[in-house]
Amino acid sequence: MQAHQRMLDPTPNGLHSGESPLLQTLGLTKRYGDFLANDSIDIDIWPKEIHALLGENGAGKSTLVKAIYGLIQPSAGEIRWQGARIVLSGPSEARSRGIGMVFQHFSLFDNLTVAENVALGLDGRESFKDMSARLEQVSKTYGLPLDPKREVWQLSVGERQRIEIVRALMQDPKFLILDEPTAVLTPQEADQLFIVLERLKAEGRAILYISHKLEEVKRLCDTATILRGGKKVETCNPRLETAASLARMMVGGEIKEVKAPAGRQTTVPRLVVNDLSLAPSEAHGVRLEHISFELKGGEILGIAGVAGNGQDELFAALSGERLSRDPGTVVIEGIAAGHLSITQRRKLGAAFVPEERLGHGTAPRMRLSENALLTGHAASGMVRRGFIDTAATLKTVDRATETFDVRKAKRDPEAASLSGGNLQKFIVGREILRNPAVLVVSQPTWGVDAGAAAVIRQALLDLATAGAAVLVTSQDLDELAEIADRIAVMFHGRLSAPLATSEATREKLGLLMGGSSLEPKEAAHAVGA
């Protein structure tokens, strides 16, 4: 049986002779209506292996791991576990067989304690007391400190991920799936995670590691399987590839390089923030504290930081979704605007692109032309004497489509029908076509395919060259390094002093993202304490 199987599935690099794969998928297919999310995927995962699963958004990575974890049933094909075919009835069966998963969007319960959260991920055969004791032991063994009695909403993103990992480890899994685990971590936190993963591998476990970050994959993973458009493209050894060659396989072609146009000059300050403090508006919100910066025309300022450190609150304060008591805290084009509404700020020449595309950047069930009107009605001549100029709104859609290569099925479809990348190109295009003096954009390429990301970054650079002031909030440090002139870091509602991009090393940014200060005086104090 085993010999027969090996003949069917020759291992890619011959490293695993004499064993059978821990987990195999054979022709795994998942169909949603006419759409093939996974098209006949074969993948072998061996013990003591960190196996990367690479692909752009929509390539089918999530669908594949959901099928392996029993969350969805494949339409065709099979899953083999230690050589034998299995049909998983659900995640609890997957867990009981030794398959664990750490989700990208954490499956945690904010208002329950750490121990309760862990208990929910286990089968409940041991008493709560025994479970709590084991929780402490596992978290100590792997160097993942946790306080079992705290409620999750009080914890940082890194701590939340620790809960997920400890919860998975408490089932002593043979195979652990991690879905983009470093997307929300500082570089230092990511390094700590890699130590844990190496240790798990040394213990004989297998890991399936989903990521966009190619350098990370090259450093950590033994094997990489690349998906594109629901199909498997290649299985290779990432250490023998370059980041560029991996990217080519993911995208299926060359990615246009973003070029900073020459002759960019900074002019007058166009967006100034003076000592902006703002109480949180919701239960889990962050308080903004004494934020100040000055942004000149022709300049791109990047704001880095782990999600949830006040970036959303800052965006709301700049866009006018939340107003300040003191008008002088936000100055747009020399005019105190802290008390002005979104529309009034747009009339001053500001434009805003929020992080959430559907539901914040656009109304999902409205047409693109209607969405163009929603942000352009005050200052772009789409309304005449109170009536909508439909021709003008359609023209805006056409111009955005042409300039930014938005691909869509109809001339004027519903926003929700576009893919993430195309919708983001439309939203950024809609704002840029208004020729803003100030553009505030949050996570411009989050969940966007590499081709669209390049178009958007280029557009931001071109806009700055044309004299606008651009503020980019992003968690992607590579993106900020590529387009920003200066980078500041947000932590617990405070903004660090901006560093010139040339001086902003990953290490420095990582320290700031973790809440450390770069000033030597404070560093010495910290060591002393």
Binding site: G70, L71, I72, Q73, G90, P91, S92, R95, F103, H105, F106, S107, L108, F109, D110, N111, L112, E116, A119, L120, G121, G124, F128, E151, W153, Q154, A283, H284
Partner: protein, 305 residues
Amino acid sequence: MELVEAIILAVLAASTPLLIAATGELVTERSGVLNLGVEGMMIVGAACGFAGAWLTGSILVGALFGIVAGTLMSLVFALMALGLAVNQVATGLALTILGIGLSGLIGAGFVGERITPAAHLYIPGLTDIPLIGRVLFGEDGFVYFSIALIVGVWWFLYRTRAGLILRACGDNHVSAHALGYPVLRIRTFAVMFGGACAGLAGAYLPLAYTPFFIPGMTAGRGWIALALVVFASWRPGRLVVGAYLFGAVTILQLHAQGWGVGIPSQFMSALPYLATVIVLVLLSRARTGGSTAPAALGTVFVPDR
């Protein structure tokens, strides 16, 4: 003294239906479902409960009729709001309107009939103790049951794994689904429990409170039960305090009118609601983070398959 005892007994009697209905709604809401149809389920429970007791002559059968009627009503809600993912607020309001009409239809033939109300406990010696005897040892079965019910619900929610899973569904149904818990099935059970409690609370009115049925006899108690759950910030302990407080306000308002206190009765009737608003404000000021309400309350969940 006699008067004080009478008032306490009246307060307990007025509070019991509120406590039972609110306990059911608390469990429903803890699972993340907002069922605004409590009033409708109660009034159908009242009509069916009276019908059952009148036809068989048994209070117990009447109570069971009330429970079954409330549960059936809640299944209508579960089918719409959970099975078909219809908006919960609209469904709950429709359920109340349906319930009021349905109870009129069921109860039409029973208006004007009387039954022997539920018997009160009598333990010689203990019940005869002045002042506290009748309060502690001379109640009807519903009162004792309501106390056992809320203690049981507390124990279930905070001391059992099933209770933890139910709270988890109310906090984040996406996560609960991702961990493999059958969110919709759990919620259906929670809704049914809420319906059973509301039906029983409704049946209490014609079986113990007044020994006859009149249309619309719940008179807004279902809405007070809903307010109580919010007042109690979804905690069983506070729910007991709230239920007796609301019951007391209701009774005191009647006595205040009798004594000729110069406050308009409408103002007194509004006191329970005013108290809810004040408590909510105090709670939200006192808590620095986290949310008091179940985070997924009232949101529609459709699992991806």
